[in-house]
Symmetry: C2
Subunit: 330 residues, 2 copies
């Protein structure tokens, strides 16, 4: 029996799952989350505490683990285990794999959280051949799984579509440009705009005042553009929306789907692409990021991907478009 | 000795190259081009005549060939050898592989011309790991080679970035949308706009009248956006500009590079990505599309890619950023 730990470290909470990684054994054995403390030692402590609590559910300790995978925001160098520029964790630069190696005796792999979530979503939705995961959190980024591998690009920059500037006269973005897609649909910018207008993201789509309708239309239109960029760039079988904005603004994915369908009625090309049929929302409350992180860790020790993690998809009743190829992490 | 024929069928001319495909033998043996006749029988005749003329340079006939590859515009289904919607060739739908099978005794593979050119550019520039080729012809499309394979997407739609609509109030596009990138930088739209103003694409960048400068700025800005989309989507090592607009408007690639460099001075993220250093122009007068098509045909017969086509890069003095992985066509 192999045991893998996967961690999803977000700005507010850290989630840890323990999964069995032999082919004949079932999926998530333990699942625990706790608040994330910020700063280098805070992040390391949060990871260790969440790990111990999850293991404790099974009466185990860290020595039982075969691999650890961690997904977290920022510029992550998986080769060297480094994290840089993770502002909402209070990290400028941290050798996370190095810092954690004192707490664990097994190999540790670190990955960007959006990329880890794409792997988890690909696994959960049984679409590891061609899937794009769009994370609409504080920021905006996407990750694409192609033939079971993450598309990284030459400098891990593939999918940084939040910093596509479409409006040179738009609001200033943290990246130094103006009018980036992140300033239109990213949670940080959206929350600020809504707060200034006395509006709340959670009930934005149910609010009928003109400012609310204007803000909703802007958000829906921006997300439809993001989906079209993903579709025209990668043409994936599934485009998955997730992240804090999607989870908070209930009904947003449906509205984006309606918007895409409207475009399809006007454009034969868009009708042919059929984006509205490819768009799905990340299943709520599933530990997608932590599962993907566990897979990153497991692949990092050079073992084949477990074939039966698909059991999880059976349990929650999700189905993908077609049978799937094995997941391989480059 | 193996002999492969590659054809690049464009709206105005059809180019045929004959290449040796054994590992120890040199590259292009014969190279011929002639005007393309339109319509189904015109296209087939153009291909056969260009092929025979190229073979004739070597004192050979079609029976000497081991494989044929054809690159041409439109929606191409490589599996079935079909071409659809190639408007500038006068083709609505044609079983091209079937039609050619009566003229050749060896296997024939058909590919979209932009995808074939991406393979040819990857080979020529020694960057088969991560290269995006942006074709600015009558229309606008790109193709990406990743780890030696073409990124196709689930419906061969990957790279149809010309139909990314960024301005819902913009000019109507052939695809049914408004304000697509193709309406900003595609040769069809650009030529029409310039003709209406009495301007000429060939000397647009040297013309100092306010309308010329406005049109030049619009073209440069649009192309810079296309390059940024490619970079943020795929993060490739090289982004290659080619096609009729690039070949005609001498100096355009340099202007786009300057524009990207200006953006890098304002944005740390863009500076980190360093797009201006990754941008190159397709080497002029090299038979890139036909070479890529020959590779498509050769791979279609299930043979390994010849290792020595790189000789061509040696001959013309181009160099790529680093040693290369073998090219594999999915």
């Amino acid at each position: 029996m192999g045991l893998s730990l996967g961690l999803d470290v977000g700005g507010s909470k850290t989630r840890a799952v323990v999964v069995r990684t032999e082919t004949a054994v079932g999926p998530v054995l333990a699942d625990h989350h706790r608040p994330t403390q910020s700063g280098p030692s805070g992040v390391v402590d949060s990871i260790l505490q969440a790990s111990d609590q999850a293991l404790d559910q099974l009466g185990l300790d860290r020595s039982a683990l075969d691999s650890v995978g961690v997904g977290l925001p920022g510029l992550v160098d998986p080769e060297r285990g480094l994290v840089r520029q993770a502002a909402n964790l209070g990290l400028v630069e941290l050798d996370l794999a190095g810092a954690l190696s004192q707490g664990f005796s097994c190999p540790i792999r670190v990955e960007n959280d959006v990329k880890a979530s794409a792997l988890g979503a690909a696994r959960l939705l049984r679409q590891t051949a061609q899937l794009t995961y769009v994370n609409v959190g504080t920021g905006l980024a996407l990750a694409t799984v192609l033939d079971g591998r993450l598309l990284r690009g030459q400098a891990n920059g593939a999918g940084e579509i939040g910093h596509l500037s479409l409006n040179p006269g738009g609001p200033r973005c943290s990246c130094g440009q103006r009018g980036c897609l992140e300033t239109v649909v990213g949670g940080g910018a959206v929350s600020q705009r809504l707060a200034d207008l006395g509006l709340d993201l959670a009930d934005l789509l149910d609010t009928t005042s003109p400012p609310a309708r204007h803000q909703a239309a802007r958000l829906v239109s921006g997300l439809a553009t993001v989906v079209r960029v993903a579709a025209l760039a990668y043409d994936p079988a599934l485009i998955v929306l997730g992240g804090g904005v999607i989870a908070t603004a209930v009904g947003l994915t449906d509205r984006v789907r309606q918007r895409l369908a409207r475009g399809e009625r006007r454009s034969p090309l868009l009708a042919h692409l059929g984006l509205s049929r490819r768009l799905v929302e990340l299943p709520a409350d599933q530990p997608v990021g932590a599962l993907g992180a566990a897979e990153v860790g497991w692949a990092g020790v050079g073992r084949p991907s477990p074939s039966r993690w698909l059991d999880l998809a059976d349990q929650i009743g999700t189905t993908g478009p077609k049978p799937d190829r094995p997941l391989v992490i480059a």
